[in-house]
Structure formats: C-alpha cells, structure tokens
C-alpha cells in the first residue's frame, strides 16, 4: 500500500485517498499530428520496471492533480511535485540519483 503526500495541501494519506492517473509528462498530439506521434502519445507507454513518473489526483482531499516519482519495482516513493511542470524538478531528480545512480526515463536522467 502506497503512502503519498499531496504537494498542494500537504496531507499524507494512503493510496485509497488518491487516484492513479497514468504516465506523466506526455506531450499531447491530436489533430494535425502524424499517426506515429498520435500513437506515441495515446497508446505507447514506458511501463518501466524501476523509476517511474506518474500523475495522481488527491480525490478524497483537495482534489488537485499532481506528479509522483516512484519505483515500480520496490513501491518506494521518491517524492511528489507540482502538476504545472513538464519535467521533474531538479530536487526530485537528485533524490532519485542518490538512490538509483544511472537511472533514466524517456529523455530524463
């Protein structure tokens, strides 16, 4: 069972208080994009065994969407951060690097 901390209201809760929203930092491709771009955006997923970035929503709380950095292989949570960014902030990346040297995810490392 995961324990997450909402970066907006600061409340820590176990996972039933939150809702998982899938892979994070997707760039949206819709009309006018190529089939390959749409396929990448809509269907293809990293699905990593290890470091992963996800969207979560504090449904039974403040209701805000946010980001979480986790390890899917150990269920360790590295940290949560604002939804208003297109890549993980430096302090989250540093935290991950301290525990998982050499990690990479999509173009982030």
């Amino acid at each position: 069972m995961l324990t997450l901390t909402c970066p907006y209201c600061g409340v820590s809760g176990e996972e039933t208080e939150f809702h998982a929203g899938g892979e994070a930092h997707l760039k949206r491709f819709i009309s006018g994009s190529t089939d390959a771009e749409f396929d990448e955006y809509m269907f293809l997923r990293e699905n990593p065994k290890g470091v992963h970035f996800e969207r979560w929503r504090h449904v039974y709380g403040c209701g805000k969407w946010f980001h979480a950095a986790r390890d899917t292989n150990t269920l360790e949570v590295f940290g949560t951060y604002s939804a208003q960014v297109s890549e993980p902030p430096k302090e989250i990346k540093d935290k991950i690097s301290a525990k998982r040297p050499g990690w990479s995810w999509r173009n982030f490392k």
Partner: protein, 450 residues
Amino acid sequence: MPEATFAGGAGQRCWSSYLREEDPDSTGDNARDENAMKRYSVFAVAREAARFHTGWEKAWKSPEPKKKYDVIIIGAGGHGLATAYYLGKNFGITNVAIIEKGWLGGGNTGRNTTIIRSNYLQDSSAAIYEKARSLYETMSQDLNYNVMFSPRGVMMLAQTQHEIRGYQRTAHANQLQGVETRFIGPDEVKKLVPIINIHGPRYPVLGALWQPRGGTARHDAVAWGYARACSDMGMDVIQKCEVTGIRTEGGKVVGVDTTKGAIDCDKLGMVTAGHIGTNAKMAGFRLPIESLALQALVSEPIKPCMDVVVMANTVHGYMSQSDKGEMVIGGGTDGFNNYTQRGSFHHIEETVRALVETFPMISRLKMLRQWGGIVDMTGDRSPILSKTPVDGIFVNCGWGTGGFKAIPGSGWAMAELMAKGHSPLTDEFSMFRFREGRFIDESVAAGVAH
C-alpha cells in the same frame, strides 16, 4: 506384457544407470529412441507401485543452453511453452529453447484462478478463446499429462438491467460464432448454485450468461505437461536463466544475452506477460501495455458446495471451488504500475465484501493465503500476438487478467505466426492495431479480472 505398449521408450535417461540395467522395459527395445519419454498410464502407476516408485523419470531435462537455436522463446509459462509445443507439433520446428528467469510456470501461470471460458463478444476474440477452450478438452490426452480439465460450467451474473442486455447481446454473438452459451434466468442460477443469494439487497441476481463447457483446469499441470512434451521433442527448457539483452544486426534479431551467456537465434518470441515491457525496451521499442498487480486468494478447504464457476462483474469478484475444497477467489487489479507481485490490501477487502453479499455462507470462512501477479494490460483489454518493429522478433502478450484460459489457443496461433509469418487467429491482434484504430474492445468481456 502390457509394459511394452505403454512404456513408449526404453531409456532411463535421468535416473542412475542401475535402473537401466534392471528395468525389464529396456531389454529388447533398444531400437527405440533412448531419449523418448515414458508414457503415464494406469499401468505405469501399477508397475511403479509394485517396485516402490523407483522408476519414475524426471518429466523434463535441465540442459545447459546451446550456442544457437532456430527459435528462442523468452518465458516458460503456459503461453511460452504452448508456443514452443505447437512450433514442434504443427510445424516440425524443434531446435527451440524456452528461457525462463525464474522457475517453470512460476509467474502468472501459477498465480491465476484457472478459469476457462470463451464467451467473448468480438469475433476475433471468440475465435482464439474458443480454439483454446476446445484444445483444453483433449489436452490431457494430447500431452499424456493430466491437466484436470473440468468443464463444470462458467456463469457470469447479470446484476443490473444494463448487464442483462449486455449478456443477451453476447449470447447472440456467441451463437453466430459457434460458441455454446445462453442467457439464463435467476431461477436457473439458483438451481445451479444453491449457495447464492439472488435477492440482493444491493445487487439482485437478474440472470446470467451461462457457458456449460467452460470450467477450470490445474494451472501448474498445464505448464508441466507442455514442458514435458517440449522436452520430449528435443527442445531445451532452460530455467533460472534471465535475458539481460537482445542483440540485433541491421534491424534483425541475432540473439540474446543471458545470465548463462550469449545465445544466438533466427527468431525470437517474447512471451513474458507483465515483464514484456522490459524485453521490448531491450529490443528498442515500446508497447501499448502497462503492468499492474492482480491478486487472488483461497479459503480454508470446505466440503463441496459449488460445482460451477461464478463471476460477478458488477460487484467485482469471482469464485470457484477447487478439488481440494478451497474457495478460489479473485477480484480486480490495482490502479498503478507495479512489478512487485504483491497488491494493495483494500482490493482484497472490496472483493471479499462483494462476494459475502452474493454468497452469505462464506462470511465465516478463514482465508488461507493470498498472492499477486503482474498482468500486462492493453487499452482494449485484448491481447497482442504480433510481429514487431524488429525483424524476427514476435510478441505474445497483453493477455492481462485473463490469459490462462487462452494458453493452448495462444500457443497454437503464435506458433503459426512465428513459423509462417501470419496466422488467421492473430491477424486482428497486431500491436499496430491501436495506431490503425482497429481496437478489439473486450473491456466489458468481464469487467473484472478473470
């Protein structure tokens, strides 16, 4: 002497040589292939009983990998072994290695709730699932291995008006597909399952989709039976051997790196369920798949009380009784990506809460054990049996929460795909169908894991 007919082969390949000298079967039968396996039969049991069970062979060999194979299959679970088996049986391709990082059948093959059914809505699904179900009917005879197929009947409860309409539609579709199912009313449900509470309170049982030839089988035996048959055909089942890299040259696969060294191959089949994403990454492509934890649990054994499989999709739970008497219970997946083979406790609670309402008598049962597996979920809840962007690599994955029922059909179709380059059973299940907008929408096929 009946031994000569049932013994099949003369060789005592795995036991020490003194058996070979003493074994009466081996005399006068030296022309037979020394490596051929002995058949299991009632006579074999009697013979072994008479000599204190000293003559049983190992069911499969444990070879070291060769330098090169025509085909390597990654994953010695049901689907991987079935693929290898039908490559040999249907296409004569026997220079095959099946590589497994853990132990044989130790992944989802040994973690599912063993339900077999083929009552799907879409034609392409019905074709491959019914192919699988029909192969289960004769699997014990075909493999000479008792997989305990028990066509006890599977019922999917309709507990809302919407579900009634959905299942009536499926029953009609199944008639057109040649899959034997029918919609039954609550009285017939109660007759088939006396322990069920059809009167609610929250979700009364309004009817059910009934497949009389659905049922269960012994999941481990399916893996073991295929492994034994593959080994007998000369294939190498290599356990405790993890694939660490996939080598390609000019866009074509040439081999794999493993914890037991590099192995070359002409064709590679990746059949690793929840771990398919890690294999795809090694080969340099991504899949439309996410890996989630799915849990199941069994109760203490009780006397026979329910001789069909019941799935209750609205309330999220399904249950059958094993031959040992345990109530086998499953529910839904967790909501987030997970590779730990353990899920969150609240899903167990949800499932059991729903089933207690439907089956009041289980409220005082103790649960014996609970476990999790990692399932590979696609967006349309249908599998992927497909060529990939890398020439010579094929994937068989995406079975998600319902792979066990499909094992023989999946192996049959995947073998044809790998041997001939296409199969009528897999044409619709390409990994490129998402981009092309050709979904095979089965997300209402169960609504829950199954």
